[in-house]
Subunit: 621 residues, 2 copies
């Protein structure tokens, strides 16, 4: 009973019919799946129809074309609409549309970049729009191309603080190439939203946050059309289109009714709905292709000349990071951003030398990570830095970036009790656990400046979410500038065939392990020392060999809470290799303020504790 | 050279002198410590001086008095000012003030509740104010007492989205008992803030977010005085005092100069500063004591009558949580809040029956947790719920709540690939790692409804951060309603003295372990099955016994990424007890959409994978 109509016209009546088709297809695919969000798709169908029929510039055959607009479904649960749109523009077949939410289909419950036309995974609300701001920043300041960045938002997600972090930065950076489309359908998952249809409340907020609001009826095709035109011609501010819409629009039985969030229509209702919407259509929208403009020529990458530190230097790894990041500027894709602490993380060296490639995000860590994700979408190599503890503020963004398989470099300074006087609020003591648990992540933790600089270099070419933990204080330089390191590597700093125990540390505790090994040697206990700088992936072979030589006697020392950190990394690696008898020194109590050495002592992670643990272990059966 | 003056007058000239004393003491203690934030303290000194001399109602001898106002330093780095204030009101001695930031002193780098007059730990910016909103919610809707809640904020932290989540809820709930004091000193850690002294930009935002802004000169005592008076008499909206201030105010050498953030003055400068500020004073401020009003009588707690499920019932643990939370309403301190998903977490049962004790926070997880922390400050037993994955949005708040040693109950539903079609954005696969790494946390994961209900009951009386993970789908009921559970416990569901392998699961994987044990029994391989429902603390004794009987052959199965979860919990517990040979089944790839059983199968955590792993392990040496 499908109705096939001719295409080509781009008038508003055609867009109206496309809107009906998008609704019908949203219903069809979700009813077939038995789950999904048809009603949240139906409210935004007209907004998307006008966009793809008359404004979006996108070559669906070349999703990687640098001139394409970007369209991010921040309301990722409107995936039926997103996929129905893919069908309408001819990117997928109707048959594929009907695989929605089925095992093995790329059309998952929420969009992910498993689909070539999807920039980032969404579904955790309040993230797509901030990431779109990051893409628009790249468009305006790095690519300098005229593509426009569109983000479709639901109204429930406007309660997320991250939305306001995003609008604030869009306003601050004058992102006139950015338009957020807010689908105000009044109904959230469990009833009315905080503001319902109080569009004026939204308008005032948007204005106050430095953006240009346009309030419209989201089902009036002419109004939508005018709003998009205005958004594109508004060249000094980002635009937010605040569209009053109706959830379930087009099917009278459920329009504007509570209780229909996230529910597929049962087959009989779906049939009535499709009938009311004019039946199944196979309209084909010819999206405008973008004008082909070559991106500005970038200078060719040259091999960075990394800083080199002498044996007698005492340089904090955070400083070495700053020096190395500056050197990495010879790779044109490297860009950096920081959460208003660049003079502590030392990202300020790069910021001063390359202000055109540095973005100050102020104290808004969610937007800090969102900006990095957006830059990653555009093929840049973003390095985002703040105190390691404060990446916990953006953990959901990092989690979603893992699902997006984005390429981020996150550098967290001021880790552990080692920071001293500032006290526990500034101490990252759970960052290794949190970063290890991210899908496909790499976790690095250098102990000396030459290592920190070389790991920074490695980060530039390592895909996925790469986290490096740097240290506040300065410690002896252990490695020469010619030493090489690798993701998944480790360094054995002391060893003999007679080692009776292995001392395993990373970062600041490597220095305690070395001191402990000296003390143990004086007690005639030969101890192997392993610098496990690659916390994930971990060097299982070296750990296994150490366990073999020492008959499983390992001491792991970390400036981190006991759960999920370096100790867990070692145990997980050796889980299937008995026998291991592991003494685990970590920060077990709640730390306070004091000098670094006082706090490390109080936490039981100093050299003397290592000596005691190793001695006891060696004496055990 | 200390100047001692008589007290008692509360006129503004006295307040001015108190302000100078607060500045002098902020300088003295930080210079003695060699670190700290004197300049950020000096900008806010007049604001605090007028507050304590003329408005704050607080009995410093009875910090737990229910009628006391609350004053939270959201800008926790202004700890010198906070501690100088404690001296001025006579709560601490000058001698103690000078222990600032020293090892063993309760006067840490940033305030923590180790000090009786501090409600919550601050220092991660943008948290104190949202928590103050939670306290004010308790004041207006639960305590129904007339105390006022004051929050002192810095300007850099206004970039945090959490500030706007907080103001939005303050406005929505009409918290006229709440006043935020914004110390706009223009300078952040590394230069000018985003808005500098553009007070009007702040004013517009505050207004748009439903609060009442008052813009003043933060060094004009009369203006400050009028603003506080207005804040208290403004009875329909929360107030935000936007005060233009000068960083380093009072010491001309550094006033309004960049480069002095977070730096103690060197001794010679400190001497000149103290001289310019009029020397050391020991003024004593007599804070007004609050009127003693008895809090409204609460009905006495009665023992909750927990729901009971029959063997033949198939009830999801999230539903059992909802039922149990409803039963817990018989404990008058139990309150609940949710992030607009209460019909999924099943907190809606409580919400419908007890709307006066339920708070809808909408999709703003940071404010969700902040509200719970604020309620915990007032002695309530908050249960906050959302999808487990979305607690990652509030991880920094949870981290800080751990430092505050707040008592929170967090319940996260929809964990793991088990959720099925919705896809990875909605799947908590790192929550066990993230929650285990919180200081003093308890992590629970029930597998059946009777267990879920009884663990919910336990949560009410368990101090610290208690997290329970619940499951979307319904599985067989394994336990009788009379079964008892404890924090740190486990249940051995199958055992014999001849067990050759132990299968360890929690939540949904317990059911797979039981099915696997049946299959192994058919292969004449007796397998022990352990339900490790208390993931932290973990039942080391039972694990040790299982390792002994099976000669270390353990299979751990979890619906979680491989890092830091159940496997790590087991390995950490048995680290010192060889030999253990642990096969670890977890979600190693990136999941997609599908039916729960398809996804668990694809992830390799189904019964057949357990059987294969156990068989291989039993066959190994």
């Amino acid at each position: 009973m499908a109705v096939t109509e001719t295409i080509a016209t781009t008038d508003l009546e055609f867009a109206r019919l496309v809107g009906q088709q998008l609704r019908v297809d949203s219903i069809r695919c979700s009813t077939a799946a038995g789950s999904g969000h048809p009603t949240s798709s139906m409210s935004a169908a007209d907004l998307i129809a006008v966009l793809i029929a008359r404004y979006l510039q996108y070559d669906w055959n070349r999703p990687k074309d640098a001139n394409n607009d970007h369209l991010i479904y921040s309301k990722g649960h409107a995936s039926p609409l997103c996929y129905a749109m893919f069908k309408a523009v001819g990117a997928i077949s109707d048959q594929e549309l009907m695989t929605f939410r089925k095992f093995g289909s790329r059309l998952q419950g929420h969009p992910t970049p498993a689909i070539p036309w999807v920039d980032v995974a969404t579904g955790s609300l309040g993230q797509g729009m901030p990431i779109a701001v990051g893409v628009a920043l790249a468009g305006k300041y790095l690519d300098k191309l005229s593509y426009h960045v569109w983000a479709l938002c639901g109204d429930s997600e406007l309660a997320e603080g991250s939305i306001w972090e995003g609008l604030d930065k869009a306003g601050h950076y004058g992102l006139s190439n950015f338009t957020a489309i807010w689908d105000i359908n009044r109904l959230g998952q469990r009833g009315e939203t905080e503001f319902g249809w109080n569009l004026d409340a939204y308008r005032r907020r948007v204005e106050a946050f430095g953006c240009y609001p346009i309030v419209i009826d989201g089902h009036d095709m002419a109004s939508i059309d005018r709003a998009y035109g205005e958004a594109l011609s508004n060249t000094d501010k980002p635009t937010v289109i605040i569209a009053k819409t109706i959830k379930g629009k087009g099917f009278s039985e459920i329009e504007n009714k509570d209780g229909w969030h996230g529910r597929a229509l049962p087959p009989d209702m779906a049939e009535r709905a499709i009938k009311e919407l004019g039946g199944i259509r196979n309209l084909r929208v010819k999206t405008q292709k973008p004008e082909r403009v070559a991106p500005p020529r970038r200078s060719a990458a040259t091999q960075p000349v990394l800083p080199a530190y002498k044996k007698e230097d005492k340089v904090a790894t955070r400083k070495a990071y700053g020096d190395a990041l500056l050197a990495l500027a010879s790779i044109p894709e490297v860009v950096a951003m920081d959460g208003e602490v660049s003079n502590s993380t030392h990202a300020d060296e790069f910021a001063k030398a390359h202000p055109d490639r540095f973005f100050e995000i102020w104290i808004a860590e969610q937007q800090l990570v969102a900006t990095a994700v957006g830059m990653s979408v555009r093929g840049y190599k973003p390095f985002a830095s703040t105190f390691a503890a404060f990446f916990s503020r953006a953990y959901d963004f990092i989690r979603m970036a893992g699902i997006s398989q984005a390429n981020l470099r996150l550098v967290g300074s001021h880790a552990g009790v080692e920071i001293g006087q500032d006290g526990p609020s500034q101490m990252a003591l759970e960052d290794l656990a949190m970063m290890r648990a991210i899908h496909g992540s790499t976790v690095l933790y250098p102990c000396d400046p030459n290592q920190a600089a070389r790991l920074t270099r490695l980060m530039a070419d390592t895909p996925g979410i790469v986290f490096m933990r740097t240290t506040r204080g300065a410690y002896p330089t252990l490695y020469s500038p010619t030493e090489s390191f690798k993701v998944g590597g480790s360094k054995v700093l002391r060893q003999s065939a007679r080692d009776r125990v292995a001392l395993i540390g990373a970062g600041v505790t490597v220095h305690s392990c070395l001191a402990a090994a000296d003390a143990l040697a004086a007690k005639k206990i030969p101890a192997r020392v392993i610098d496990l700088y690659s916390v994930k992936p971990v060097d299982t072979r070296t750990l296994r060999e150490a366990a073999r030589v020492t008959r499983g006697r390992l001491v792991v020392v970390e400036d981190h809470y006991p759960q999920g950190g370096l100790g867990a990394a070692v145990l997980e690696a050796l889980a299937e290799d008995p026998p291991v008898r592991l003494a685990h020194l970590a920060v077990k109590g709640l730390p306070a303020s004091g000098k670094p050495e006082e706090l490390m002592n109080a936490a039981g992670i100093s050299a003397r504790h290592i000596v005691a643990a190793a001695t006891k272990l060696v004496g055990s059966k």
